[in-house]
Amino acid sequence: MSSIIFRTSAHIVTVLMLVFSVYLLLRGHNNPGGGFIAGLIAVIAFALLMLAETTDYVRQRLVYSPAAFAGSGILIALLAGLLPLFFGQPFLSGLWWGKIGSPLLFDIGIYLAVIGSVLMVLLNVEEELS
């Protein structure tokens, strides 16, 4: 991937896709979207960056390891499920404060879990191959 056009535009497209993935994440609880596909779009953004630059570049930009993303995502999603139990409602019930509620927290957990686990696979495969 030595094309200078691709390498330059990849950075811009990555940012745009990451913004779009956050948009999808936030509207997910009552519109098409949600943590899972938002996470996949974020992964595509990082994959683009990985092709334009190197895997190390992406790992540096992520700051934390993909495994940490996946683990904390699962923890957040579990917590979002647990939260309504403290208010006497069944597991995974939605708690709402205005437009923000525990389903959003759950979606964020899924978002992080998807990013972490898929990137873990992608980066490892890319490093094995090259």
Partner: protein, 516 residues
């Protein structure tokens, strides 16, 4: 309270699994987390079964979406006793793997995956929704695949591929059956399905129930489709193979029992004669396969198959006594089978091999281990008064009552052959002197010995306890069987509406009367 208790058996293992994965670099920290999780799970399981015994069936609907639209978790006697047994096995395996997997590079990940697998097993036992059952089957499959390939060599990858391909076929067929069932009835809730399946045309019902039978038969490693089990189990580390042997196939049997009592009626579905033949052949092929093996793990793997035959036999006969026997057999078998694999693993650790030709002298070196081996081995073979005797007694008595004499004769013959295999292990590994070219046994530290022996001894004690205190466990199994064959209280409790608590009387009379 109930909303907490029903979710915790899945929540705690998942939380423990993530915590173990985070403590990846610190072995001792991840051991402590893993132990804490396993112990917490046992406490929750005890609390759950106590609640179910005193207050009857418990239901919770996720997200407060009422059945039949939402996903429900249902704890009846059968589910909660299975959860308890799983939690006991969980503790035993976690303790044992602290010693057994200590030298592996992925120590913390092993613990993480063990707990995730336990979450899948617990979820399969507790769920009241057939699609959710599929999801938990997938959780089990993915985590068990992960455990198989962690730090694997070539032979292990080969075994894992066989395991995964056949199990994927099983879950695919299972998914196909769920899709057809949903198309035909419009619901996935097991309690709701009970009434709706009865209205289906016979051909539709036969097709769908046949697909379920096929899918679960692979999971349970029944007669023509068991080949994945002996092909893959003996390559695994000892702690992991004990976990698989205890739980994975039994989840398949549990699903068969659940689906062919509450959703389909086995007699109406028309598969009863087929299942009787399958049960007999499963017993026979398993035990004959074991007789030809000379490796402890391989012998025991084949014995899983033959023992599955007894459980299927209980389901196939389909009288209250037979299903009681099948449930009793599952409870007994999970404990005993895990224990035998743990002992085999300990021998392998000491002598560096589990090939019977290279073993020997264990009796003179460790007489107490020989005693601990005899308990589960005789129980597996069915010596009174150990637990296996009662399980065999119940299913064989049921087969005689329904005049299935050939099946009864097969079961007795298989029991005899089981003794042959067990005495083979006894004679070769324990009794005969250590072969001259064999390496000297490894001496383990006091702490390691403790970690190995505690779970083995505890499971042996439980085997003896089941044998001597048959009455309460028999009653538990009998009430579970009654609940399965007469599921009206279950259905009322699930579809009844509010998600707090429902009481179904525990005595068999009350259930037969349908007084809910």
């Amino acid at each position: 309270m109930m909303q907490w208790l029903l979710v915790m058996p899945i929540f705690i293992p998942l939380l423990t699994a993530t915590a173990c994965a985070f403590s990846f670099r610190k072995q001792s920290l991840s051991s402590v987390i893993s132990w804490t999780g396993a112990i917490a799970n046992l406490l929750v399981a005890i609390l759950l079964i106590q609640t179910v015994i005193s207050n009857g069936l418990q239901v919770t609907a996720f997200g407060d979406w009422k059945a039949p639209f939402g996903i429900v978790f249902v704890a009846d006697l059968l589910s909660s006793s299975m959860v308890l047994i799983t939690a006991i096995i969980g503790i035993a395996i976690v303790l044992y793997s602290t010693a057994d997997l200590r030298s592996k590079p992925f120590y913390a990940i092993y613990h993480s995956l063990i707990h995730a697998l336990l979450a899948g097993v617990m979820g399969s036992f507790l769920t009241g929704d057939i699609f959710n059952l599929y999801v938990f089957f997938e959780v089990m499959l993915i985590t068990s695949f992960g455990l198989m390939v962690l730090g694997a060599n070539k032979a292990q990858i080969d075994a894992a591929v066989k395991y995964v391909v056949l199990n994927l076929i099983s879950t695919m067929v299972f998914l196909l059956a769920i899709g057809l069932l949903y198309g035909a009835t419009g619901t996935l809730n097991m309690a709701d399905l009970h009434a709706k399946v009865a209205e289906l045309p016979d051909t539709t019902m036969m097709l769908i129930s046949g697909l379920f039978l096929f899918g679960f038969a692979i999971k349970a490693s029944a007669f023509p489709v068991f080949s994945w089990l002996p092909a893959s189990y003996h390559h695994l580390p000892s702690a992991i193979v004990a976990l698989y042997a205890a739980l994975l196939t039994k989840v398949g049997v549990y699903a068969l029992i659940r689906v062919f009592t509450i959703v389909f009626d086995l007699v109406d579905s028309g598969y009863q004669p087929l299942l009787i033949v399958i049960a007999g052949l499963t017993m026979l092929t398993g035990v004959l396969g074991a007789a030809s093996q000379f490796n402890i793990k391989r012998i025991l793997s084949f014995h899983i198959i033959s023992q599955i035959g007894y459980m299927l036999m209980g389901l196939a006969i389909y009288t209250p006594l037979a299903i009681t026997g099948a449930i009793f057999y599952i409870i007994h078998h999970i404990i005993v089978k895990a224990n035998l694999f743990l002992i085999g693993g300990f021998l392998k650790r000491k002598q560096g091999s589990d090939n019977l030709r290279e073993l020997g002298g264990a009796y003179s070196a460790m007489p107490w281990l020989a005693l601990l081996f005899l308990i589960p081995a005789f129980s597996l073979a069915g010596f009174p008064p150990l637990s296996g005797f009662w399980g065999k007694f119940l299913v064989i008595k049921a087969s005689l009552q329904t005049e299935e004499y050939l099946l009864a004769a097969t079961a007795l013959f298989v029991g005899l052959m089981t003794i042959y295999s067990m005495t083979k292990i006894w004679a070769e590994a324990f009794w005969k002197p250590l072969p001259e070219n064999a390496p000297a046994p490894v001496t383990l530290s006091w702490k390691e010995n403790c970690l190995y022996i505690t779970p083995i001894a505890a499971l042996a004690v439980i085997t003896i306890l089941i044998g001597f205190m048959v009455e309460p466990i028999y009653q538990l199994a009998e009430t579970s069987a009654m609940n399965l064959l007469n599921p009206q209280p279950y259905i009322n409790a699930v579809l009844g509406g509010d998600s707090i608590s429902h009481t179904a009387p525990l005595s068999a009379n009350g259930i037969a009367g349908g007084s809910h």
